[in-house]
Amino acid sequence: MHVVVCIKQVPDSAQIRVHPVTNTIMRQGVPTIINPYDLYAVEEALRLRDRHGGTVTVLTMGPPMAEESLRKALTFGADRAVLLTDRFFAGSDTLATSYALASAITAIGERFEPVDIVFTGKQTIDGDTAQVGPGIAKRLGLAQLTYVSRVAALDLAGGTIEVDRRAEGGVQALRTRLPCLVTMLEGTNEIRRGSLPDALRAARAEIAVWSAKDAGIADVTKCGLRGSPTVVKRVFAPTPRAEKATLVDPAGAGAADALIAAMFAARPRLEAELATLVRGY
């Protein structure tokens, strides 16, 4: 069995700062991490490999620095890593990203061994679109299983997979044919800590660094800015609310009543609305 997991190196958005005047991102000192959602995909892939044998290839498209993230994935126990990096990829939107990744996955299948499952995270914390997974699936003509919380069964001989998928208002149990693409939901598992030999192997591993050409991309106009139909025209900071909260004194026995009075004063209809709610409750 051969599983490819797409991971992305992202700035830790909890630590991002915005320049107060120019509204640009101040990247200095902002650490990068593996997109947290992708860790669930890596772990699920490793579990399948532990159970069914085979190999796990991790793939990322990004700057040369993204190698760090791949190496980290190797520390967890992934077998092989491919870094897709080329100046043609700069400025890719989701359509261009999924094109590049789909091409690389095809090349990985040809160069190493046929791919049975592609995993991605549900979404990234920087792009935050949840579109790249479906984009890859569509381009590769794979069945698409999004928001998966669990791979319930995998029958390699029969070529089928069953998963639980989070849907609106419930869980769908789906069965489809391999190869397929799975996007993993968060909180579904916990990434393992590799052993010391895994860590040593990862530190030494050769990471395949591929250009667009290596990934078999003949038409670079489908990549990067040129291959992106969307255009970011304006970046700006949210307008802060003009006034701060009115503070209510917390001291004394009457504090709660004072707070309620302040609420009803601020929104005169609130009491009546609460009354209806409470009645219907």
């Binding site: 991102i25 949840a130 970011v232 609130l270 609460l274 409470v278």
Partner: protein
Amino acid sequence: MAQPDKPAAAAGRANTKKELPERFRQHKHVWVFVEQERGQVHPVSWELMGEGRKLADKLGVQLAGVVIGPPGPAVAEAAREAACWGADLVYTITNEILAEYRNEPYSKALTDLVETHKPEILLLGATTLGRDLAGSVATTLATGLTADCTALDVDADGSLAATRPTFGGSLLCTIYTLNFRPQMATVRPRVMAMPERVERPLGRLVEHPLAMVEEDVVTKVLRFLPDRDQATSNLAYADVVVAGGLGLGSPENFQLVQQLAGVLGGEYGCSRPLVQKGWQPAERQIGQTGKTIRPKLYIAAGISGAIQHRVGVEGADLIVAINTDKNAPIFDFAHIGVVGDAMHLLPMLTEAFRRRLSPHIRDRLAG
């Protein structure tokens, strides 16, 4: 969506807008995908219909709803409803294989419809279904898709300006799909206000066929297990929400939040760290990566008000914050604040509300 990383470069390119290619010139009208499952229309569809109406009026074009599902009364009913929420016309596609949502037949159905009737704007809810579908459709059509928009508008030359948060909500960016059609966008539930429903007959109904049979679909639905805790899906639509954050200190203290929510007849939610710590299930998370809410009253206890939380609650009519730190960012956007200990204040508030609302509770018991 483009990485808003290098706005300068992107802007440079945006200015090089070409004439819209010939093949896209016939694309006209605004479409809203009406998300209908098991006889229920997701309310986000009507929120979008409200937005779609505004866009269509600005462009001077028609607003259409798209309903996809199995044959039967549900689709027809949804189509009629769509008119009441503002649709001038409705496209429907019905087929047995559309009984449960599956990507293959749904994306084929929607893609075919777009290719046949050529809308210029296509809006979907950013639900699990909407995101699953939109990504596939946009890829097949090789057009731009902007996810999780918080504002939609058309600019002077009629292009869709889709604004969404970026970099964890610290910035907003406006994204265009200048040279491709349709211009696609998804919007999360509760980000847009619900429009007013007006009883209206359906203007025009266009039925579109789907040339696909069950044998063509490789993915099968084995089971559907509805959520046992239906309340979690009500959180986004609750009129009163009480939420707790890390400031509560322990999972046990969370019941203080639940008790207040109970007395108010509302729902309860939490900030992300509580989900990460396993104190609360993911469905209870409010914020950028959780649920967006628009209640009439939101009470946040022990929540600092990080930007990622803020973007999920800003639509609330009245925000009340309880926090021990007078410098907590939540006081920058709450309407009413109390600098104090939540563990002390929550029970007092619960008791005070109980007293205050008891006549109504008695009414209920009597009636």
